[in-house]
């Protein structure tokens, strides 16, 4: 029990609940079921992107290009749907994913096979992809009345009372949990992140793994691109501008170590949820809009500080341990 309480994820989950309760006490509407449902729906895109980013960060990498990939694939799927309204929705979604995958694989090739620094590569592709959104759309908006109705309706339509967004995010979480914990691919990523040189010595095909990791990140961003555009019913060059830092912040809050090698699916999910709660709560509790950014900054710093504290392993224990009273009581209880 104590172990579980000590876990970062548990602490984060508790703080999310406390936060929701606090906001709820100031603004009871916030804890209404529809509001919470909306919060959940709102957090899905961030959570999915945070999951993909988690895998990348676990390999000691970083993907700054997610937001641009999202924008590009979102814009392309919107253009596609406008141009060919009769195209079935699954095809549009698959195309969005494929575009994202392709863009991610470009990152993956440069980082994996050419062994270039992830932050530099994705910084470069970030601006290239964003520029391409403009080039492809000619700078024009794609707005709601142009898009086919089912294109727009899908993310928020409900299945068994829950929005499709939540279903998709839920299955993404499951898939990532499987990848991270039960697939060789995922475990290799942890190995690479822990000790890249050692990973080579045990024969992990590092380049290939990185290639596909960034591919996955891109594919998720691609899917989110469609979902984003459909959800807000508008596509323009600057969608999700600056969102990459929010995604990274979610991972970091979720305890994914930027130094690589550690990070859990639960952490990434909770980190995303945490930021979503903040983002949804601030407008509701009527904090002055001018304070929002500063508060978000403070919250990120605080979460990171607390994370660092709980994750700190003190010096090594060389001296023989003596059973002290507190411990004895703890074990007796």
């Amino acid at each position: 029990m104590k172990e579980i309480l000590k876990m970062r994820e548990t602490q984060l989950a508790i703080s999310i609940v406390v936060l929701i309760a606090l906001v709820g006490s100031r603004a009871p509407v916030f804890v209404s079921s529809s509001s919470l449902g909306n919060l959940l729906t709102d957090s899905t895109l961030l959570i999915m992107l945070a999951l993909a980013q988690m895998l990348v960060i676990v390999t000691r990498g970083i993907d700054l290009s997610v937001a641009s990939t999202l924008a590009l694939s979102g814009m392309m799927s919107a253009l596609l749907a406008v141009r060919f309204p009769e195209l079935p929705l699954p095809v549009v979604m698959l195309v969005a994913i494929a575009i994202g995958l392709g863009l991610g694989l470009i990152n993956g090739y440069l980082i994996g096979y050419l062994d270039l620094a992830p932050i530099v590569v994705t910084l470069g592709t970030m601006s290239v992809y964003r520029g391409l959104v403009f080039v492809l759309s000619g700078g024009a908006w794609v707005s709601s009345h142009q898009m086919p109705p089912e294109f727009i309706a899908f993310p928020l339509s409900r299945f068994l009372g829950v929005t499709n967004l939540v279903w998709i995010a839920g299955s993404t979480i499951l898939v990532f949990w499987y990848i991270a914990m039960h697939s060789r691919f995922g475990r290799d990523l942890y190995a690479v992140g822990n000790a890249p040189a050692s990973a080579r010595y045990v024969g992990i095909p590092i380049a290939k793994r990185l290639f596909w990791t960034y591919g996955i990140s891109g594919a998720v961003a691609g899917l989110c691109g469609y979902l984003w555009v459909a959800r807000y019913a508008v596509a323009y060059t600057e969608i999700a501008y600056g969102f990459e830092f929010t995604v990274i912040a979610a991972c970091v809050i979720g305890g994914v170590s930027i130094a690589g090698g550690s990070g859990s699916v639960a952490g990434a999910v909770l980190g995303g949820l945490f930021l979503a709660v903040i983002g949804n709560a601030l407008p509701v509790v009527k904090v002055s809009p001018f304070w929002q950014s500063a508060l978000t900054g403070v919250v990120i710093l605080a979460a990171v500080l607390i994370n660092a504290r709980s994750g700190k392993t003190g010096g090594r224990q060389i001296l023989p341990l003596h059973l002290n009273k507190a411990d004895a009581q703890g074990s007796a209880a």
Binding site: R184, V202, G261, G315, Q317, L319
Partner: protein, 506 residues
């Protein structure tokens, strides 16, 4: 032994070049099943490079590798493993955040059926079985970051043995093990040999080589020199083959009588790492610190050098209390600490040799370094030559040197600070016999110049041969202090194990 069987592993004409450096030149090697082959050579002779070539990490530029008569090519480490060639490398190959069991099977986890799902229970069961076979007790679910250095080493050995290997290579496996653990290792090696595995054993310690190996192969400067049975050759002859000349191997205790007390440490305490450490160091004295790996010697020394926080206690230098809160203080007071982990704590691998050596004394060279190049070169060359550093030029990056030569650069760096007290933490770990003698000679010179040396070493002969007094530590406390010639090896080892060879209780 049957000399007629075809070798399991046969190398011919192996060449490997790095940018501008020929690491292996026409090397040949052959090992048979059920035999332990010692691979011997100075630092930088190319032993580790050969190992990496054999295990698919490097691809040879020329030459062939034959496995049981069949020519093979390894594209990566996994290929080699599958073909039955496994190795414990000189560098630690460990994944801190993963569990012991996963560390053993990382990269080739057994999967369940078509789903490709990792079979965790099988991994853990296999790991348990492996440790049972090795007769070492290790918790398979513990994270590796919580293990001691020696325990980690056994995880690596377990990894090498987890695949039914035809050839097992051990690259300096004993460098960070204590006597007891080394004996464990010997037992494992014999077990392997008796099971018909070919073992290649790399070490700079001749007692070990004679103890476990059957045959030897000598490399020098990347070239094959000789091969034969160890029974037919004396240590002297081997050394001569290795270095191309004869080296007097002894522990030259400099004839210096220790003077007045220079450094005195009283009640040095740390909340978790050590407790109540008191000792005195005299001018011109060599004080040996012996203990098992993990006894806390390095921690004490790092505390003395100002690298730890939370330390209490009194330190006096020349009778005056000194307060050392950072390494710069220590250097100013004339204390130098040569750390044991040269890759992480010692060397700046991608900086030139020159900059490595002058780093701690930069302020003495001057604030503006423009135009001081000649001065810097002089200092660096002086120490490089004294330590017989093998390098092409002073601006070469340290990463391009062999392990032992990197160690020499670190040593040189600290000698350059012109210290009063020099703390050497495992100074000869992984150093070849010729250079080791040079280091020992150098330690002798240091004390005869009036320096005081604290020598932390896990090599009993070294401590006994060099030290005026020996402090033995166990679990963060000083167990006993022996004067020179007062103790037998047995007494020291038993003190290091906590007198009654008690099992660790932590």
């Amino acid at each position: 032994m049957d000399m007629n069987t075809t070798p399991v592993l046969q190398l011919t004409g192996i060449c490997k070049r790095f940018a501008g450096i020929v690491a292996l030149n026409n090397v040949a090697l052959s090992v048979r099943a059920g035999e332990v082959m010692a691979l011997i050579g100075e630092n930088g002779a190319g032993k580790s490079t050969l190992v990496k070539t054999l295990t698919g990490i490097y691809r040879p530029d020329e030459g062939t590798i034959e496995l049981a008569g069949q020519p093979v090519r390894f594209a990566n480490a996994q290929d080699a493993m599958q073909a039955g060639v496994t190795a414990v490398h000189q560098e630690t190959v460990m994944f801190d955040e993963l569990t012991v069991a996963e560390n053993i099977y990382v990269g080739r986890q057994p999967c369940r059926g078509a789903s490709g799902r990792i079979d965790w229970s099988k991994i853990e069961a296999e790991a348990e079985k492996l440790f049972e076979r090795l007769e070492v007790a290790l918790p398979v679910r513990a994270r590796v970051k919580d293990l001691s250095v020696a325990q980690r080493h056994f995880v690596e050995i377990a990894r090498a043995l987890s695949q039914d290997a035809r050839v097992v290579i051990l690259d300096e496996p004993t460098a960070s093990l204590s006597q007891r653990e080394i004996r464990e290792l010997y037992r494992i090696i014999r077990q392997l040999r008796d099971a018909g595995t070919a073992v290649i054993f790399i070490s700079h310690k001749f007692d070990e080589i004679y103890e476990v190996a059957d045959r030897y192969t000598v490399l020098r400067d990347g070239q094959f020199i000789a091969e034969g049975a160890l029974a037919d050759i004396t240590e002297q002859e081997l050394v001569a083959l290795m270095v191309g000349r004869t080296v007097k191997q002894a522990y030259p205790k400099a004839d210096v009588t220790p003077g007045e007390v220079l450094l005195s440490v009283e009640n040095l305490c740390h909340p978790t790492e050590f407790d109540n450490v008191s000792f005195e160091l005299r001018r011109g004295e060599i004080l040996g610190f012996y203990g098992l790996v993990g006894a806390g010697r390095s921690e004490v020394m790092q505390a003395l050098f100002g690298l730890s926080t939370q330390v209490r206690g009194n330190v006096r230098l020349d009778g005056k209390p000194v307060c050392v809160t950072c390494a710069a203080d220590a250097i100013k007071h004339g204390i130098a600490y040569v750390p044991e982990d040269r890759q992480h704590q010692g060397a700046h691998l991608t900086l030139p040799i020159l900059q490595n050596i002058t780093l701690p004394i930069l302020s003495k060279v001057g604030f503006f370094l423009r135009g001081r190049r000649a001065e810097e070169n002089k200092i660096a060359r002086h120490f490089a030559e004294q330590l017989e550093l093998k390098a092409a030029y002073l601006t070469q990056n340290v990463s391009e040197l062999s392990g032992g030569n990197q160690q020499k650069v670190v040593l040189g760096k600290w000698l350059a600070t012109n210290p009063k007290v020099i703390i050497l933490d495992e100074p000869t770990k992984g150093i070849d016999i010729g250079s080791k003698a040079a280091v020992h000679r150098f330690i002798g010179e240091l004390v005869s110049k009036g320096l005081s040396v604290i020598l932390v070493s896990s090599e009993l002969p070294e401590v006994m041969g060099l030290a005026d007094r020996i402090v033995v530590m166990h679990q963060g406390r000083i167990e006993h202090t022996f004067n020179r010639g007062e103790a037998t090896p047995e007494m020291i080892v038993s003190a290091a194990s906590g007198n009654e060879l008690a099992e660790d209780c932590a």
